[in-house]
Symmetry: C2
Subunit: 301 residues, 2 copies
């Protein structure tokens, strides 16, 4: 699966992913005013996302859909999540389900069925929230990861394991030093690199990627060196404060090896001064182009 | 919220929780045969859970509902999750949403809205999957935990943070030694104890609990000593191999401080030799009573 993503990145000339992390608050106020139930909210979010996707699908190789923004609207929200994924896939976009799931093996297998694999009912198989990639948390070690790896092989999928997250307090646990001189994020990174050993594609990257925040450039640089076969999903650009010059260390010498996410910067672009007067979709497209230029310029430096 | 749970435990004389982690495979074969869609599966699971809950609600203080077993059936599965929680609450059971969510602060706030807090649409507030407790993963540090703590205070809720999980490979990361001589699970435990500082109830325990597996008694004993104000949710009893004598170290000298989960051992009891011939509900009740006796005997030793 990672090869397909890399090829879509080359085709669009854009190593960035649009985060379709849509909260009702992000919608135009006249739309919000019309909503009074969870179903209304879910439908409004679906329409908003449809406009975003129609304007973005030629510009970005992939979308990341953060499930928390849908779970908060309950079962109706999950319907919006499902429809958003389906619309994105129909438009040819790679879909990253940003769900950060984690559990013991038997339970991780259920999560994997939901997002990467299949669920059997009677003699039929269903793929409820089928995505191309999902994010996972590796705190439980390999037996909580294996079910995902199995589906990566059997169904041509990929995962991104949290290594160094973009939030301010990520260092509280992740930067602590083990007695062997490695930090926790480095140890997690080494495991991720190992878990991907058997799934390397033609560009040298495996189906087991890592989440590495744009907001911690020194750590990202260290990880890039130590994880030569691990593709990075890089959150934290834009609204969270990450700059293109900071995150260029996530890329290899061929300009590959990472994809950078922006959520609010793209989906709420229509609210910003810079894109004033534009529609939701046109502003998102303009912001996606600006982001692409910003990142590509930094990588080429 | 922790005081209410402790009082329910005292009232039922039962420090155990039934894990309603229902997969279609767990249902009687004649029921499975009638299902051919995700909706059928969800409805069959709701009926099965209703029978379990009606037979368990006088025996156990709480249920733990593992969302992965519902997510695998897509939006229909989430409807079954929602209905299961609602049925359990209606019967007066405490509900622990076992979701192990984790993310950066703004996103964690959305998860918290889904399970502990409220979601605003127009002028109305909704509580989609409202539970009394939820499980969370602390890998991102305090700013991924704060939104949950806020809802714990404002809405009288509780969380259980993963500290030492029950799965075989939990040691791969969690048992690694930091340079200060503490393992990762001990460091996580110390943070959890600290995060609960301001929410201690009348029994000395806080609303910020910890997940500590029954399968690692030495580590559990160490944690019980170091985390005197942290209530433990203890998975791993029964099907996963944890024994009552192993997990008694999770309790304090008053026999408080922990609640032990069993999922398959209770909900699939009707399939076991021991409860042969009993209905799903009767077998679950018998297994819940046997578990209560087993644990209470071990604690009193």
């Amino acid at each position: 699966m990672i090869d397909k993503l890399i090829e879509k990145i080359e085709k669009t000339g854009n190593p960035s992913v649009a985060g379709i992390d849509t909260k009702l608050d992000y919608l135009p106020s006249n739309t919000i005013e019309k909503c009074s139930t969870l179903k209304d909210a879910a439908n409004a979010i679906i329409d908003f996302n449809a406009e975003l996707l129609e304007n973005l699908y030629k510009l970005v190789p992939a979308v990341k859909v953060q499930v928390a923004y849908y779970e908060m609207y309950g079962t109706e929200g999950m319907r919006a999540f499902e429809e958003t994924i389906a619309m994105a896939k129909k438009l040819g976009l790679s879909v990253i389900a940003d769900v950060k799931r984690n559990d013991i093996g038997s339970t991780a297998a259920c999560y994997s069925s939901a997002y990467l694999g299949r669920t059997k009912v009677g003699n039929k198989f269903f793929t409820p929230f089928e995505s191309d990639f999902m994010t996972v948390n590796g705190y439980l070690g390999i037996d909580g990861i294996e079910p995902f790896l199995k589906d990566c092989v059997e169904r041509d999928k990929g995962i991104f394991v949290l290594v160094k997250t973009s939030n301010p307090s990520s260092g509280q646990i992740q930067d602590k030093l083990f007695e062997n001189g490695e930090t926790l994020y480095e140890s997690m990174g080494a495991l991720v690199e190992e878990w991907g050993n058997s799934s390397r594609g033609k560009y040298g990257y495996s189906d087991v990627g890592a989440v590495v925040g744009a907001t911690h450039p020194m750590q990202a640089e260290r990880l890039r060196e130590k994880m030569p076969h691990t593709f990075f999903l890089v959150p934290g650009y834009g609204a969270q404060g990450g700059k293109a010059d900071d995150l260029k260390v996530c890329f290899d010498k061929h300009g590959r090896g990472a994809i950078v996410n922006s959520s609010r910067g793209i989906i709420c672009a229509y609210k910003s001064e810079k894109y004033r007067g534009m529609s939701v979709g046109a502003a998102a497209a303009a912001a996606a182009i600006d982001m692409r230029e910003d990142i590509c310029k930094a990588i080429k430096k």
